[in-house]
Amino acid sequence: MKEIKCECGHVNPVGTVLCEACGRPIEGNQHLDGNNEKRLLNMRYDGTARRSQTYNKSIIDKIWSFFSSVKVGVWLIVLALVASMVGTIFPQEVYIPANAPSRDPAVYYEDQYGIFGLIFYQLGFHNLYTSWWYLVIIALIGISLVICSLDRFVPLFKALRHQKAQKHISFLSRQRLYSETDVASNEEIETVKNNLKKQRYNIKEENGHILAEKGRFSRWGPYVNHIGLIIILVAAILRVTPFFYMEEYVWVREGQKPIVIPGTDGQYYIENKDFILETHSKDDKRFEAAIAEEGMIPSNFQTDIVIYQTSDKTVPGADAELDPILEGSVRMNDPAKFDKYTVYQSGYQLNEFTSMTFRIHETADTEEAALDTFTVDLTAPEAEYNLDSGFRVVVDKYYPDYYLDSNGIPASETNFPRNPAYVFLIYPPNSDTAEVSFVGIGRNIDATGENIYKLGIEDFEMHDVSGLTVKYDRSLPLFGIGAAIFMIGVIQGMYWQHRRIWIHPSENGILMAGHTNKNWFGIKKDIEKVIKGTNIKMVEDQQELDEK
């Protein structure tokens, strides 16, 4: 049997709970919406036949039923919720602080958080949000969104479109809001109709049966917002591809020649003219107290940049010819754009050494008169300096960012010249025997104590370094559209309600029933206004209190 014929003559699809035409409960299907145990009808989807409730034979039916269940949907949401919480117990790998003793996750978590940190790391929770199982949960939510929506939207849409004003008595009396008025005159019914129109209800009449309805479009809200969410999930998948998304981080030094921007196929170069760090003035009366409490508060991070494009005239193999295409500043909250790329101010390093100039003098000379000088260019340190006066200086060891490690051995913390130190071998003129000198900022150590010559720092130059993020993200419009559709959907579904009032003529009077998908207080107020000035009885709220 493919269809069910109702007593009213309407032919319903298999699995229908309430006749599409007259609303009469269809025998044998009441358990589907749980109506058999309750006096009130479950009006969630207007008693339509849903695929998930009707077919349960093939494997596809089973998968469909599984994903269309709200219960499954809620469980998936709860799983995602709990997993997300777990990921915040300790910082994710990308948020390991830059000043941590060790940024290696294998060390960091155990070091900082003990046994729990170790477990956190071993379970892979330090990259939880990109783990396969987290993505699987999100993907399952996506599948559930699609199936849930299709399973409900299609039949609900058909049912509401074809609904009749004339409903069976058993349909009315089993609504949550219901009243029976024994005597009602035609004028009274006319007043009610006019009042309903005044309240902007759409009226449908069939043989004296009235259906007043408003806000049906709010029923589509959930499906609209689900479409928005699906678009967002699709955007997130597309974003993984290089066509949609590219991100590079580049350190650019002040005064350095333009360097190629990674990720642009050598097409673009960038130069750092100046990095500017400004702080709020401590003389500003308004902020005196706060600055006194917290110290200087930065007011601006800015890099003045020039972007160059490689010229078409560039000869292969030769240095690129560069045409400046953009000169401007990149500030926090104010990125710069060129071509499809956006440049963000993301980090900085103050006071790196550009060059250091040393002078050689006799150890015994208190005046420290220079016998000769030489300059080490820290962007390109040389191994050996042959000076005019005949001195030869060999750089034996170079520590760009000097510190003494835990064993007291000199080492470099980073590869950036933030605190340069050297071991120099000094060969006096016409000599093959070197003196060993250790020189750093505020350090000058003569290991033997017998050196005739000594090195002093004569001069130095410094520069700042800007950390800039260069990226393009073509998925943004898609995320924007998804978010907009989602918002339209939730507002449509949440801020409006679908209200229906049925009036069914009885012998001398009328039966009246009301239903809304939410805000029962509001529909009751509507009905109160509608029956004002008549003797029609106010509907009673038959909500079953055992439902709580």
Partner: protein, 396 residues
């Protein structure tokens, strides 16, 4: 008189007005006609006072904006104050729709606790760091606060529902959990009480402790029960700490915050015990009779309604505007920062709530419990995430 003192004076007046309004709302409870839509005199006075208080708080907001040059939503004090204001705003709206005066008896004290909690943080006007210098600060933060304020009303309605409906004649798991929720509110009151008390005495104990290779000072405003990890006390003639804060508590001033939590727990517990000794029954049981005339299903509906109104606002502010701003400031609209994750957790939670409401059996009491949990999640994001899980949003 300078403008900042006008501002703080206005905030203080607002607080006092809310307090008096609460008392008048309390007076409406005895009224048997509460389910009819009639304004009693005390209800009229109460809502008028609430509106005047709200206006005073707007004066605070505008004058402080004027004084600092930016909207006062940039640190913990300013944000929490604004959140309290949004809760009052949401209550006023709901009041005029449902005409339910006794809702004020709970909504206003919750707002007052939030505002008082806010004032325990540094109240100095601070300039904006570069990352906050954007119009999106106003747009994002105000929308989030409004959304959360509306969601808080569902908590208020839920809590009232539970107090009214849970059978207090027998001891059960439900009465226990309800009592725990009430106890947690006591801890907040304890926090406010103890912080104000030592604040008035100008108590100060300074510690030095190592952090990331540097030595940092931490100023305790409460006697140190828990000192900073590996810290040394440098102020003389004050109480020595009893023990050290464990080192897995991260972030700036972890020790001081941990110490504050301990004090709040102690004070809150003492207050709770005293109240219990006086009334000689569960606090929930003592309040229950007040709600005799309240309709449970109306409370349920208000709770649900607040979520349906608050959820879109929260989504817009807490996720969408937040993402737009993050894209402009940091070049990534989503970064799995703890604050972001907890905004997502909040969103997931209320999404689950809205789906559960579709099913029979989740209305009423279960919904009310969910509303309480939702409030807990939002507060967790405001308090624990800011103070314990240090991230990009760690104010103050």
């Amino acid at each position: 008189m300078d403008i900042l003192s006008v501002s703080s004076g206005a905030l203080y007046s607002a607080f006092v007005l809310y307090l008096i309004a609460t008392l008048f709302f309390g007076a409406t409870v005895r009224d048997k006609r509460t389910d009819k839509k009639q304004h009693t005199v005390s209800a009229k006075i109460a809502i008028t006072l609430t509106i005047i208080g709200f206006a005073a708080q707007i004066v605070y907001f505008i004058t402080r904006w004027f004084a600092s040059g930016h909207a006062p939503v940039s640190n913990m004090f300013e944000f929490m104050t604004f959140l309290g204001m949004c809760t009052v705003f949401a209550f006023i709206i709901i009041y005029f729709y449902y005409k339910l005066s006794f809702l004020g008896l709970f909504a206003l004290p919750i707002s007052m606790i939030i505002i008082a909690y806010a004032s325990m943080f540094p109240t100095d006007v601070a300039p904006l760091v570069p990352s906050l210098q954007s119009h999106w600060l106003y747009i994002h933060v105000t929308t989030v606060a409004l959304g959360q304020g509306i969601l808080f009303i569902s908590f208020v309605a839920g809590l009232m529902y539970l107090i009214k409906e849970i059978d207090q004649t027998v001891k059960s798991k439900k009465t226990m959990w309800l009592e725990i929720v009430i106890y947690i509110l006591f801890i907040f009151i304890g926090f406010i009480g103890i912080t104000s008390a030592f604040g008035m005495m100008n108590y100060n104990a300074t510690f030095e402790y190592p952090s990331g290779g540097e030595t940092i000072k931490s100023e305790y405003k409460l006697p140190a029960i828990a000192g900073p990890n590996e810290g040394t006390l440098i102020t003389e003639n004050v109480m020595e700490p009893w023990f050290e804060t464990p080192n897995w508590l991260q972030g700036q001033d972890a020790g001081r915050k941990f110490n504050t939590v301990i004090w709040s727990l102690i004070t809150g517990t003492i207050l709770f015990v005293i109240v219990r000794l006086i009334i000689r029954k569960r606090v929930g049981a003592a309040i229950q009779p007040l709600f005799k005339n309240v309709k449970a299903d109306l409370l349920d509906e208000i709770g649900y309604r607040s979520v349906t109104i608050g959820f879109p606002v929260f989504t817009l502010g807490g996720l969408i505007f937040a993402a737009i701003w993050a894209q402009i400031a940091w070049g990534r609209f989503w970064g799995w920062d703890p604050k972001e994750v907890w905004a997502l957790v909040t969103w997931f939670f209320y999404a689950a709530y809205l789906h559960l409401r579709l099913s029979r059996g989740w209305h009423g009491e279960k919904s009310a419990w969910l509303a309480v949990i939702g409030f807990g999640i939002i507060m967790f994001n405001l308090i624990v995430v800011n103070l314990v899980l240090a991230g990009l949003h760690s104010y103050a």
